[in-house]
């Protein structure tokens, strides 16, 4: 069964010289520093407005590399398939993974498939790894934020989480909202072209913007201050969050980044982000401060301030 799937679905889609050899591992030459990452994708439903688990897996892995300033080169994809998944659905997911990889200029050089009995997985799980090269002089890390840096957000928050949630059983509501699922490697390259003072990059996925900012504040031992009114949120996302009792700050994104950039370069980097189609609504949302290390504070719309903490537990819809 698995062998058959490889021949019929995976090889034709991911065709490249490394994979075509069907050896136990891919061999390739590289130069310089490498970035290496892994992730697993268990999103439900596996198809959602604006993407599917295949595109999500590739974009997510590419973004993990891009957030280190790396140029994505090689990916691996492993599929754990629940028995009974329709073949046309698998084909669609594999095709969209390949399209996403090609867009990012990355090659899928190894993979694996396992079919497990009904009930042993929820339709389809995808595990990935990714390798990229890090150009010389690049030093981007969650621990590099410096007091005075500006905090730049590349666009609206919460689109992915709300788009996926709108499709869940029992929560289904109609919205034209699409997931923002996208690879950010080109945006990062454009940012690095205009500035060598980009200190941190991170994509606010699970846990949302709030969790990402808290992670950076803790890692860099700095305070972060943001302003609620500067954070772009789509009206549909805000409305859905109000209805469900969520805070957009904690809702997942899959095609956004947060950058900590030296103040003197901030406008230039913002311009570079905005020139990219995925970053048109980018904004400077705050700055890194000498405030209490690890603490994120937000000026609210009405001029008060509050602490923005990490996401704790899962977000669940409220009663009323």
């Amino acid at each position: 069964m698995s062998h058959d799937l490889v021949a019929r679905i995976f090889l034709p889609a991911f065709t490249n010289p490394h994979l075509a050899k069907l050896d136990d591992a891919a061999i390739f030459d590289t130069q310089g520093r490498l970035a290496f990452t892994t992730d697993s994708y268990v999103v439900t439903p596996i198809f959602f407005p604006g993407g599917d688990i295949g595109k999500l897996a590739v974009c997510g892995t590419v973004n993990d590399l891009a957030m280190m300033g790396a140029v994505p080169l090689y990916l691996t994809l492993s599929f754990i398939i629940e028995e009974g998944l329709p073949e046309d659905e698998l084909q669609a997911i594999v095709d969209s993974a390949q399209t996403a990889a090609a867009d990012a200029g990355a090659m899928i050089v190894a993979g694996d498939t396992k079919v497990v009995p009904h009930g042993s997985a929820d339709r389809l799980f995808v595990n990935t790894s990714g390798i990229g090269t890090v150009p010389p002089q690049i030093d981007i890390s969650g621990s590099n934020a410096r007091v005075g840096d500006k905090v730049i957000l590349s666009g609206t928050i919460g689109d992915h989480g709300i788009a996926v949630l709108s499709q869940r059983e029992g929560l289904r509501f109609s919205t034209t909202l699409q997931s923002d699922c996208a690879s950010l490697d080109k945006m990062v390259a454009q940012m690095l072209e205009v500035s060598s003072n980009i200190h941190c990059l991170r994509d606010p996925t699970r846990g949302g913007l709030a969790t990402t900012l808290n992670e950076i504040a803790a890692q860099s031992r700095v305070g972060i201050r943001i302003e609620e009114d500067r954070i772009p949120v789509r009206h549909e996302v805000r409305a859905a969050c109000d209805m469900l009792g969520f805070d957009p700050l904690y809702v997942a994104n899959e095609g956004k980044l947060v950058a900590m950039v030296a103040a003197e370069d901030a406008e230039r980097v913002l311009g570079a982000i905005r020139r990219n189609n995925l970053g048109r609504e980018a904004a400077i949302i705050g700055e890194v401060t000498a405030g209490r290390a690890g603490r994120v504070v937000m000026k609210t719309s009405i001029g008060a301030s509050r602490i923005v903490d990490m996401l704790v537990g899962d977000i669940l819809p409220r009663i009323c």
């Binding site: 059983e169 001029g303 509050r306 537990g313 669940l316 409220r318 009663i319 009323c320």
Partner: protein, 374 residues
């Protein structure tokens, strides 16, 4: 009109805050009945903007929090009955009963589904005719009409496998009990917005009449709440006490007659148990005789076992307004949203969760201030 951003404008907020500062002379303790208000007040930082004369106190208005363990245990036991699918609002999933939560029951054997609307619960029943779907009916007057509508719909369609565990609670009776207990002295009450949209602002008239306390119904946006506080301050300073509405886009004095008729058609008042208070007569809702066949308690054989209270948890006192989350020795230590001991730490409208999430974790630090134009 988007009904959100218009009610968060800082220049209008500044104007209201200035008025409150100018007019408030008498120390006043105001209780926001509703958990939604507690969350909004902390989330937008409203407390920081108020003069020292005004103290805000959280009340019992979180339906998840006030559900007593004896009732939670029934839900856990029902969820474990073979062939039962328990449909519930998401808030309920992690609430700890005497021994476990629905989430734990779900991990073991139970089929628990989170829904947003009662009609989604009905839909699960339609798609699983061989199973019994029990909707966990928790909530105040706000959600009860939608449960009533689902019962009528089930009856009309002849859906035989849909049931309800009604643990609904009514707001005016518990407010009267809290005021009669006399443990807290209040100068004003921020009346719940969504509940009042259903029952009407007139339902609160007994408070100024019998207790001399000013009441203003509020919406949930920062400007709604500030306007409500401003109106309460005006009443307090002029020595008046009446019911007013600061949420006219949602609330009428007479309420929503359609919803009230639905409620009355399907439910009747009954005694029910409140966390921290005990049994209060005529403060719950049960299905009327005609709809008893939908009553899960009468339709299934299940044993909730003995009820136990959470050791050291002061949720009951917090719900009565006698203590605040910061008075609890478990707060943020043994009890946090990851490992909740009591329900107030679980629900998105619970006082403890709101205090935890919005950084009111202790008195040891102050949030660094932003310039506030007052």
């Amino acid at each position: 009109m988007k009904f959100t951003s218009e009610f968060r404008r800082s220049e209008l907020a500044g104007g209201l805050v200035s008025r409150i500062h100018r007019h408030s002379k008498t120390p006043a303790r105001l209780m926001e009945f509703c958990g939604g208000h507690t969350v909004a007040i902390l989330k937008h930082g409203i407390r920081q903007l108020l003069p020292p004369t005004i103290e805000m106190l959280s009340g019992p208005g979180c339906p998840v929090c006030v559900t007593a363990n004896v009732d939670l245990d029934k839900a856990m036991a029902l969820a474990k009955v073979p062939g039962v699918i328990l449909a519930t609002f998401g808030d309920m999933l992690k609430v700890p009963g005497s021994n476990s939560s629905l989430q734990e029951a779900k991990a073991e054997v139970a089929d628990v589904r989170i829904v947003y609307s009662t009609m989604d619960g009905l839909d699960i029943a339609r798609r699983n005719p061989q199973k019994s779907v029990v909707f966990l009916g928790i909530g105040f007057e706000t959600t009860a009409p939608t449960l009533a509508a689902s019962i009528l719909q089930a009856e009309q369609e002849g859906i035989k496998n849909y049931y309800m565990l009604s643990q609904h609670k009514l707001c005016p009776p518990i407010t009267r009990v809290l005021l009669d207990l006399g443990e807290i002295k209040l100068q004003g009450i921020v009346c719940p917005g969504h509940v009042s949209a259903i029952i009407g602002s007139r339902s609160w008239e007994f408070i100024p009449r019998d207790y001399g306390i000013p009441c203003v119904v509020s919406g949930f946006e920062p400007l709604d709440i500030l306007q409500c506080i401003d109106m309460l301050v005006s009443q307090i300073e002029s020595g008046e006490a009446r019911v007013e509405i600061a949420y006219r886009r949602g609330v009428r004095p007479e309420g929503n007659q359609t919803a009230l008729k639905l409620l009355d058609q399907v439910f009747e008042p009954c005694p029910t148990s409140w966390r921290g208070v005990g049994t209060v007569p005529q403060s719950g809702l049960r299905l009327r005789e005609r709809y008893r066949r939908f009553d899960a308690e009468l339709s299934f054989d299940f044993d909730p076992g003995p009820t136990k209270e959470h050791q050291g948890c002061i949720c009951g006192e917090i719900l009565r307004g006698v203590k605040t989350p910061r008075d609890c020795p478990l707060f943020a230590e043994k009890c946090n949203p990851e490992q909740p001991v009591g329900p107030c730490m679980v629900s998105s409208e619970g006082s403890c969760a709101a205090y935890y999430l919005y950084g009111v974790q202790g008195s040891a630090f102050k949030v660094p201030g932003f310039p506030i134009s007052v």
